[in-house]
Symmetry: C2
Subunit: 192 residues, 2 copies
Amino acid sequence: MGVEKIDTKSKILDIAEGFIVQGGYNAFSFRDIAEAVGIKSASVHYHYSTKADLVSAVMARYTESFFRQLPDPTDESLDPKIMINGFIDGFKAKIVDQRDMSLCTMLTSNKGILPESVGHELAAFYQFLLDWLSRIFVRLEKIDEDSGLIQASQLLACLHGASILVQGTDKPDFFDKALSRWKAHCLPSSLL
Amino acid sequence: MGVEKIDTKSKILDIAEGFIVQGGYNAFSFRDIAEAVGIKSASVHYHYSTKADLVSAVMARYTESFFRQLPDPTDESLDPKIMINGFIDGFKAKIVDQRDMSLCTMLTSNKGILPESVGHELAAFYQFLLDWLSRIFVRLEKIDEDSGLIQASQLLACLHGASILVQGTDKPDFFDKALSRWKAHCLPSSLL
DNA sequence: TTCTATCTACCTAGTGATAGATAGAATTAT
DNA sequence: ATAATTCTATCTATCACTAGGTAGATAGAA
């Protein structure tokens, strides 16, 4: 412990996450990471013994920090419209401004070649996220849980699909086009 | 020419396409393909000299056969609702019944590591498809071209996102959930 | 005789992973 | 307090294997 030099372990995760969102599971090697961190590949293995471990750790950290940033959907003092809008804007920032895919979109498309553990983590991530969105829609539109889940699925699908469209066409405009229904639907009350 | 034994060249494309939709660009090798076809890897190179050539050929064939199957959007004898529904159902068959990603979703997520030529083909594919969908929406809802493109973007995003959701959660139900708005919206007149 | 499609054999460059050494920090024993 | 020990994080060197790609031979068809 002590002076906390910039932790190599999380530096590795940062760089691995960057490589994954740019090219997926098979598009980087331990040597790539080692070079970027400034150590040797054997030292990367010291921190994460296998590639599966490494990707699993990236996913776990992502999930943890993702949900830590989300507000409590049942907090009555928060406007559900603003929560949804914040969520959409956060997603947009990632895929339009940074111009790469979200970690989960990328890993999901790689699911067939991923260690099984990562597959489970992915599924859990989506379940949790859909649940979060559902609760907000239930509040926002005073609907039952099933309908909330449907709304949540639609929004989440639109967001992921929008990122494919932006990436595939190289035209960031498609993000707003694909999301226009939701933007209109979820304008914060302050603007109505 | 002549007796047309089952063409090795297209057998290679079939198998390559299968590998790509299952795991993406980096998840298969010439040796994998050779083994599946029943020849040696050097013989695969005879037909497609580089991996970029091969994937490019897969994409070109896919694009060609995809658009050959689409009806003429301006054909007044065809019901636009049925065309949209047929499109959705075709997509669903691919990703829900066959349980893998569409070639384009997969390649788009791999775009960062793809040969540039394939990137251009992908962009062209999406432009063409969005145009096709736009024309139908313009007819269906008697709207202008810009609004047609917005509808088209939304539907296409929903479809791609639905495939991510299905793959990520392992729950095929999410396809219909994510698409329910469009199914309701585009019921063929015969059922109204 | 030339063309087509295949083969065997190989190359170079990388892959994930391991073994063993080492310098220095932290901990424990005397 | 100091000496002995263990732990941490790194290294060098290497393994067995796979990658995409190439050269050259060959059998059969045109």
